[in-house]
Amino acid sequence: MPERLIEVKDLEVKFHTEDGVVNAVDGVSFELQRGQVLGIVGESGSGKSVTAMTLLGLTRDRNTSFGGEVLYKGRDVLEMDEDELQGVRGNEMSMIFQDPMTSLNPVYSIGMQICEAIRVHERADKNQARRRAIDLLKQVGIPNAESRIDNYPHEFSGGMRQRAMIAMALACNPDVLIADEPTTALDVTIQAQIIELIDRLKDEFNSAVILITHDLGVVADVADEIIVMYAGRVVERASTRPLFYDPQHPYTWGLLGSIPRLDRPKQDRLHSIKGTPPSLIRAPKGCKFRPRCPHAFDKCMEEPRLENRVEEPGHLDRCWLSVEEKRELRVPTLAGTEEAA
């Protein structure tokens, strides 16, 4: 029986701004077991990063309100006080951010920043922490870790900085590693290395990973389960294979169709989903994807529930179309031959 580390139930995150209430995350639920990789996929503004940051209590603010539950080993993160949260952050759950260029403090050495993470959670003297930091840097593949540890972030390349970030995140052997677009700011060649590294270290450290990205291609190889988010809501949730081979939601089709592929006939332009994500202050009525969906019909004025509609158990989606219709309608979009409009 795999150990359930995280259980998110109907999570809501609202930002109260001068323009109105932003429903950044609206009723998101998922679970994460030890050893599992969960992919959260969606466009900018779909609420995926907010969901991730909320797991660590990083979205807390006077102008933010929460709903639902975020259970970490049965404890509700939303209810924790600041001290309790600090004990969890970086220790039991840690996070890697999108831009390694700006996510490391420019005025401290890499080693100091890793040692800081170790020493805040564990009783280690300076030398012990330093030795651990060197080991970690070796594990993430930094050459000459003994001397590079004293380098400053600006002396590292982008890929190496992200490796250092990963080393820092793993410093206290966390149960859950949250990677928020860890490869978006990196070269394509480095991207694959970083993803492979995260996947390998997950096994070495016996952790679970939440991998957030806008690129389905990034999670295809490593994720066990994928959540597709749109406008703060989960529109489809499935294990990786069914999601790629039998995608149910038109938004997922659009994401899949917009991945450039060499095995397709050459097209003039890459497929794209028409339009932009909706405002989260005044979201569209009914299905949130309706205004951009080429297959929308009357019934879409009412929002469908996230439920199982296909043979595969656990494959949930939020679309009114019948399974047969979906399997027929998605063909051109997935092939990338039709602009979704």
Binding site: G90, D99, P106, E116, H154
Partner: protein, 317 residues
């Protein structure tokens, strides 16, 4: 690093030469600037003036005069035209008062500036921030001579709230306690403007830094709030404050504390400079200019070194 310091020192020397030369030109060429006429007075004959000119080598080409003045300044033999007092000695006499005033005020304004900036950044947008903002603006808007007089009027001996002694400088060596209480009012009067200004600048820096990704990283590591604030936010926000402080401090040391010195009769270098400018007395003006330039140049080198120490990105490799 050594090369960097040497380069900066050569640059500093060139700046000193340029500043003194320009000052010299300004005072030689301005109307009514002829020292011989002024020294000789209203009733002087042409012969008197010619004699003085001869004695002070005022007929030589101006670059020779400049060179001669620089030589006598650096050998310590330069004398004032009007009082005949040795310029270097006069500056030396003013230094204890000026340094006491500036160092004390510098400590106060840096410390309280940081405190004010930190508090108003932490409570940004809330009531306490607004109160501090208003106070800071009032502080910035009060001219030193006005504030100084008001402070004396209210708090000096023999006035409504007689708390502090009224003006004058007591040497530290003769009575440390009297030195301290005599300087308290001048220190604060000089510091108030800077506290308001530094507080505003730091508040802005902190609010910028607090949104940096690395601050989020620091929080995600599980660092306590205080450590995030001091080690990650404040450390980075203070870098620009160091430049400001270095240059402002050099400027007040170099004589821009004139107003405070005058209001409280501290008889420092600033007051000496003001008096000499008023009487167009060239030798002291040159002396004080070199003295002031020296501190400004020195502190800009110090600021550069501090900067490199604070920010590894600009360390010369």
């Amino acid at each position: 690093m050594v090369a960097f310091v040497i380069r900066r020192l050569i640059g500093a020397f060139l700046v000193l030469v340029a500043v003194s030369f320009i000052t010299y030109l300004i005072f030689v060429k301005i109307p009514g600037g002829d020292p011989a006429q002024r020294i000789a007075g209203k009733l002087a004959t042409d012969q008197n003036i010619a004699d003085i000119r001869q004695k002070l080598h005022l007929s030589d080409p101006f670059y020779q005069q400049y060179w001669g003045m620089m030589q006598s300044l650096f050998t310590g033999s330069l004398k004032s035209y009007s009082s005949q007092l040795n310029v270097v000695n006069e500056i030396k006499k003013g230094i204890p008062a000026t340094f006491s005033l500036c160092i004390g005020a510098g400590i106060i304004w840096l410390g309280f500036g940081i405190l004010v900036g930190l508090i108003s950044a932490i409570y940004a947008g809330r009531f306490s921030d607004r109160v501090i903002t208003v106070l800071a603006l009032i502080g910035i808007s009060m001219p030193v001579f006005w504030l100084g007089l008001i402070a004396r009027y209210l708090f000096a001996e023999g006035h409504p709230f007689s708390i502090f002694p009224d003006g004058e400088y007591v040497p530290l060596t003769s009575n440390p306690w009297q030195w301290f209480v005599h300087l308290l009012m001048p220190w604060w009067v000089l510091a108030v403007l800077f506290i308001g200004f530094y507080g505003r600048v730091l508040r802005g820096n902190i609010l910028d830094t607090i949104n940096e990704d690395y601050v989020r990283t620091a929080k995600a590591k599980g660092l306590p709030q205080r450590r995030v604030l001091v080690k990650h936010v404040l450390r980075n926000s203070l870098i620009p404050i160091v430049t400001l402080f270095g240059l402002d401090f050099a400027a007040v040391l170099g004589g821009s504390a004139i107003l405070t010195e005058t209001v409280f009769q501290l008889k420092g270098v600033g007051q000496y400079a003001a008096d000499s400018v008023q009487s167009l007395d060239l030798p002291p003006i040159m002396g004080v200019t070199i003295y002031a330039t020296f501190f400004i140049v020195l502190f800009s080198v110090v600021v550069d070194l501090l900067y490199a120490w604070l920010d590894p990105r600009i360390r010369p490799t």
